[in-house]
C-alpha cells in the first residue's frame, strides 16, 4: 500500500482482556514508532523500532504493554489485562530511517475503548 495502515480501526474490549494492535508500515521503511493519544491530548511516545530491534522501551506505560516487529515490517502492540485508562487512540508511524530529520508517516490509528 501507499501509506501506513493499522488494524483494527476500532476496538472495544472489556477490562482485563488482552488486545493486539497491528501496524503495517510503508514498504522499505526501517523505522517504526508507536504513539498513544488520549482524548484532547497530544501524542505520547511509546516505543520505536529500528529494524526488528526496539532500542528504547522507556515510553511503555507499564509492563502490561509490549511490542514486537518481525521481518522488519509488521509490528504488533499488545496490551495485556486492559484497564479503562488504556482507552485512547494508538498511532503508528514509519520513516525511512531512524534519524530526526526523516519524516514520520502516520497511520490512521486504532481507537481503543476499554469498558
Amino acid at each position: 500500500g501507499a501509506g501506513v495502515s493499522q488494524s483494527p480501526s476500532n476496538k472495544v474490549t472489556e477490562k482485563g482482556k488482552d488486545v493486539e494492535l497491528r501496524c503495517d508500515p510503508i514498504s522499505g521503511h526501517t523505522a517504526l514508532y508507536w504513539y498513544r493519544q488520549s482524548l484532547g491530548q497530544g501524542l505520547e511516545f511509546l516505543i520505536y523500532f529500528q529494524g526488528n530491534s526496539a532500542p528504547d522501551k522507556s515510553g511503555l506505560p507499564s509492563d502490561r504493554f509490549s511490542a514486537e516487529r518481525t521481518g522488519g515490517s509488521v509490528s504488533t502492540l499488545t496490551i495485556q489485562r486492559t484497564q479503562q485508562e488504556d482507552s485512547a487512540v494508538y498511532l503508528c508511524a514509519s520513516s525511512f530511517a531512524v534519524l530526526a530529520e526523516e519524516t514520520q508517516y502516520f497511520g490512521p490509528g486504532t481507537r481503543l475503548l476499554v469498558l
Binding site: G40, L91, V98, A100, E101, G109
Partner: protein, 111 residues
Amino acid sequence: LAKTTQPISMDSYEGQEVNITCSHNNIATNDYITWYQQFPSQGPRFIIQGYKTKVTNEVASLFIPADRKSSTLSLPRVSLSDTAVYYCLVRYSGGYQKVTFGIGTKLQVIP
C-alpha cells in the same frame, strides 16, 4: 530533550495569513524543528521542517531566527480545511530520541 511551548488555540478568518509561534529555549545545536498537522480522527501529517533561517514549501513557511530559540509556522491565506491541530517538535539529529508531541495549537478557521 528540548521542551516546546506553543499557544493552545488560535482563531483566524478565511483568507488571512496565520502565524503560529513555538518557543524552544533549550534547543541544542543538532536539533531540527518540525511541524505536523493533525485533522480529527486522523494521524498527524508532516508539514515542514527546518534548521535555521527560512524554509518554504507548497504548504507553509517556517521562520527560524538566528538564536533558534523559537520558530514560526506561517500558513498563507488559510481556508476552512486548514482547521486542525498543529504540533511543533524539536528533534535531535544525532539519532532518535523519545519524542512527545505535546498538546499542539488548535487552529479554528472561521468563514
